[in-house]
Subunit: 84 residues, 2 copies
């Protein structure tokens, strides 16, 4: 595997995993007033575009990383809407 | 320009711009207790890896998008540390 591929996989894993503690914190404390609704709406739109990009290029790592991020970001957005 | 390139630029613009409302909200209300410290530490580590990936591939759109995201995410992290 190329060094750049390895760095790319590490990067994708980190920027995806980053949403786990936010999802956990929002769920744990049942509070989301510090989380920006606009951020998650725009972010999810961006993730759907990244998935489209991955599908157009048949790039499975891009598709899979963005499916996981989509699930986590959608969960945070749902918590924001439920606990507002 | 290829359709996939266009979709990629839209995706990068959205996932970068998404952090503007969160940065603004945290700054405006001087509160960050709903924002996860771990999320931003892991996310910034991921962004630094994405920048390394962009540099290795000499991919300027990747480098530029991640510089902007790094600035916004670092600002949110700084607010989190200041207002904790």
């Amino acid at each position: 595997m190329l060094t750049s591929d390895l760095v790319g996989y590490c990067a994708a894993s980190l920027t995806t995993a980053a949403f786990i503690p936010q999802a956990w914190m929002t769920w744990r404390f049942k509070r989301a007033e510090g989380v920006s609704l606009s951020m998650y709406v725009i972010f999810i739109a961006g993730i759907l575009m990244w998935m489209t990009y991955g599908i157009l290029l048949q790039a499975w790592p891009v598709i899979i990383a963005n499916i996981v991020t989509l699930v986590l970001a959608s969960f945070i957005l749902a918590m924001k809407l439920i606990y507002k």
